[in-house]
Symmetry: C2
Subunit: 471 residues, 2 copies
């Protein structure tokens, strides 16, 4: 029985890998559809991206710029890219360093009759916030639903804790749009409240989930305004606080946190490259950001994007593909709280007068791929979009579409080079459940979905490399 | 502060529900795009489908036709549909009754030198299988990768346990296709093995996951062949067994299970209806199947499809929509192991000379909606598809597409009525991780994705009702 058994099993394996073996990298008549099939076959069965992501997310962990974990992530991905036989280098960049300190305390106090009651509100400090000092602070709370309200309330805000509680709009089909519409509260809330003398700001977590998980994220102090502590509370805590405020007008909230803002430090973008054989000066960049928030493992945000980019190169190497154009993998540092990596990359690239024909960023998680969205300098956008959309015929069988609109925080500074900026678009229904939380870990990544994303991006890189983006 | 606070909050709520309040159901100039927006707004914020599904899946639980749970599901959904103010009735159908009995035992035995070793293999009996008897059975194992192999091996199979181990093809983009290509082993494996005198059949679980969760599902005995016990083992168990077989040619497997095949019983389809105001004889059916496998809660398969269908009616009622055509919700019984409900429905419908202009079935889970696939009698298919695809302009903003190909096991018998059969297509990457397992429970359903599916189906029902399917 054994020989028969082995023959059958071997035949099946050959069926699965056969088409990639048949591909002739030097042939003139290569069939692009056929090569894309090989990309999918290799990636769905033999990708390394999931192993890399498990290490980044769960072994190394949260990788805020300036942290030991961020440095470990630099070394690890550098090594993994070198193992692919790529030319790899580190590009220095200056990044802020902020540390969270002890577990934050946020607690509501109110009186029911003569009895004082209190309740903990699950919270996380927002990135770059100052702390309350060791004894914390306590004050009355004023609930608002937008920044502009502060300009109306003005002196009524003084010495209060401002509570921003405008939910993400659940009727938005694209959850990214819902996030974009609500996130001003988190980014600018403390500054606007501080302008009118508030003593702290708390913000409803940026998520469509109703749960007790707080979501951190960056906040920015405006110049010339006294900084005040800024924290996010879970959506359950936000709803509870709102309810309590309606019942108990004398409610107070106590806040204690002790983050620290340190001096800026030098960190690195990790860059790997294969020089193009025919058009070496036309660069196709594919990247994600290596840093993440300190809580959780930054698995979807943006470990997934990094390993997507790395997988593109592993797959093309495995298929013996020799690119016509220069393919560059860039793992950016400090997307989350400063964009130091993206700025340093663009600055050096512009100084060298490089031309990025296309830059693709994956920073919306490792979910089922839906397609790509793109943008560019107005001068070149229409013809380039038209050119990119010609590739849809190859991508539709993989359930992918190409649309206008999209890019990425790290690649956007390259717009002046007049190439195409492309954002990878996976299914977005679950991204903001996990985004910037303790739950953004490898166990919440679906390996097949992650790999399918890598295959989608590899296919687009291949199509652009083969065909360019001429009108 | 309070009045201000309330005003702001109220404004936000009005913004969210405003558009549906503005809709005038009697207006002649109604804007279909606007109404679809209202459908989404209502469903994403106020749907009841998730509450219904929690009860079906986790309170009632697995609902195999003929079980107490199936009868409870009939009563529960009847009551919920009546609460929507619909005309509801039960349609009798004859269903097989099969019970699993005690936890199955499957165990491999082999000798390492003189030491006998053994290992449990996680298993579930397949639906409608016979049992081994109380002392179980033990035999040598022959591993194969397809049914046809049995026709070659023939007498070598006698008294063996046949182990079907052809995996679902991971390179298929549509996991449903991978399932369709592999499932013959589960459905017909025991019968083909029995034909050549095998004593039992075990089959690798139908999933792309590599885990220790066995997947049950229906198997069918062919007439005139002695039935033999049939069980599925987890993919981890299948890989382990395959490995052991290569190392130990004297390996034996012991199997014990005690399912029972009972006499057929009467069960019911649950049907609810709103009569059409203008074309009452043109029926638009929307449905799922109420039965599920006995393990797990049948949350995605197919509690989700049932509550999708029910939600269509809740939403249209909430929006005061008066349909032109007759809208019918059908929750079919016995899809999993006999299709008794679907057959009874088609038989009565044909006897009454009804015409189903369109029948939509949701039976691929409660994941992010991707669109619809359709089929029909060849005579009418092309014009009807063209007609349906005209609606894409309304659906593209919701990330939905309409394609050829699709239907549903319960609605397929309606094809002779020459209407359009439509299958709802959600994202399929995770469906077969859970399908027919203990893990198909409400906690593995994402509420927003479930609701978005209901909104998608409601939108299509509305468009067909408004516009018909004329060329």
């Amino acid at each position: 029985m054994r020989p028969f058994h082995i023959t059958l099993k071997t035949n099946i394996l050959l069926l699965i890998v056969g088409s990639s073996l048949l591909y002739d990298a030097n042939g003139q008549e290569e069939n692009q559809a056929f090569f894309i099939k090989s990309i999918y076959e290799h990636t769905l069965t033999n990708a390394k991206c999931d192993n890399w992501l498990a290490v980044l997310s769960d072994t190394i962990g949260g990788r805020l710029a300036g942290s030991v974990q961020a440095e470990e992530a630099v070394s690890y991905t550098q090594k993994m890219l070198e193992e692919q036989g790529l030319d790899v280098w580190l590009q220095p960049c200056i990044v802020p360093k902020w540390t969270r300190g002890d577990k934050e305390v946020v607690r509501a106090f109110w009186k029911e009759g003569s009895r004082e009651k209190d309740s903990a509100l699950n919270a996380l400090s927002l990135g770059n916030t100052i702390g309350t000092g060791p004894s914390g602070l306590r004050g009355q709370v004023i609930e608002v639903f937008g920044l502009d309200t502060l300009d109306i309330l003005r002196e009524q805000v003084k010495d209060k804790i401002v509570f921003y509680n405008r939910p993400m709009n659940p009727t938005r089909i694209n959850t990214g749009h819902a996030y974009g519409e609500a996130v001003d509260q988190r980014v600018h809330g403390a500054s606007r409240a501080g302008k009118y003398g508030a003593k702290a700001a708390i913000v409803r977590s940026m998520t469509l989930s109703y749960d007790d998980i707080p979501h951190t994220g960056v906040q920015q102090y405006a110049d010339g305004i006294e900084p005040i502590p800024a924290l996010a509370i879970s959506t359950i805590a936000a709803e509870r606080l709102s309810q309590l405020l309606q019942e108990y007008s004398d409610l107070e909230v106590y806040i204690k946190n002790n983050p620290e803002i340190h001096d800026s430090v030098t960190s690195y973008n990790v860059i790997a490259e294969i020089k193009g054989s025919t058009f070496p000066d036309e660069i196709i960049l594919v990247g994600g950001h290596l840093d993440s928030w300190d809580v959780g493992g930054g698995a979807h945000d943006d470990g997934a994007g990094c390993v997507h980019a790395m997988q593109v190169f592993e797959t093309l190497k495995a298929l013996n593909y020799q690119p016509k154009r220069t393919l560059r993998c860039v793992l950016f540092m400090n997307e989350e709280n400063g964009l130091g990596g993206g700025k340093a990359y663009a600055k050096e690239s512009n100084a060298k007068k490089e031309f990025h024909l296309a830059a693709i960023e994956s920073d919306m998680g490792g979910f089922t791929p839906r397609g790509f969205g793109c943008s560019a300098h107005p001068k070149v956008f229409k013809p380039m979009l038209t050119s990119l959309q010609k590739f849809e015929e190859y991508l539709v069988p993989y359930d992918l579409s190409i649309k206008a609109g999209g890019g990425g925080a790290d690649i956007n500074p390259l717009k002046s080079q007049q190439g195409l900026l492309i954002g990878f678009k996976p299914d977005n229904s679950r991204y903001f459940d996990l985004h910037h939380t303790t739950e953004d870990v490898f166990s919440n990544v679906h390996v097949r979905e992650l790999r399918a994303g890598a295959a989608a991006i590899t296919s687009l890189v291949y199509l652009i490399d083969q065909n360019g983006l001429d009108e």
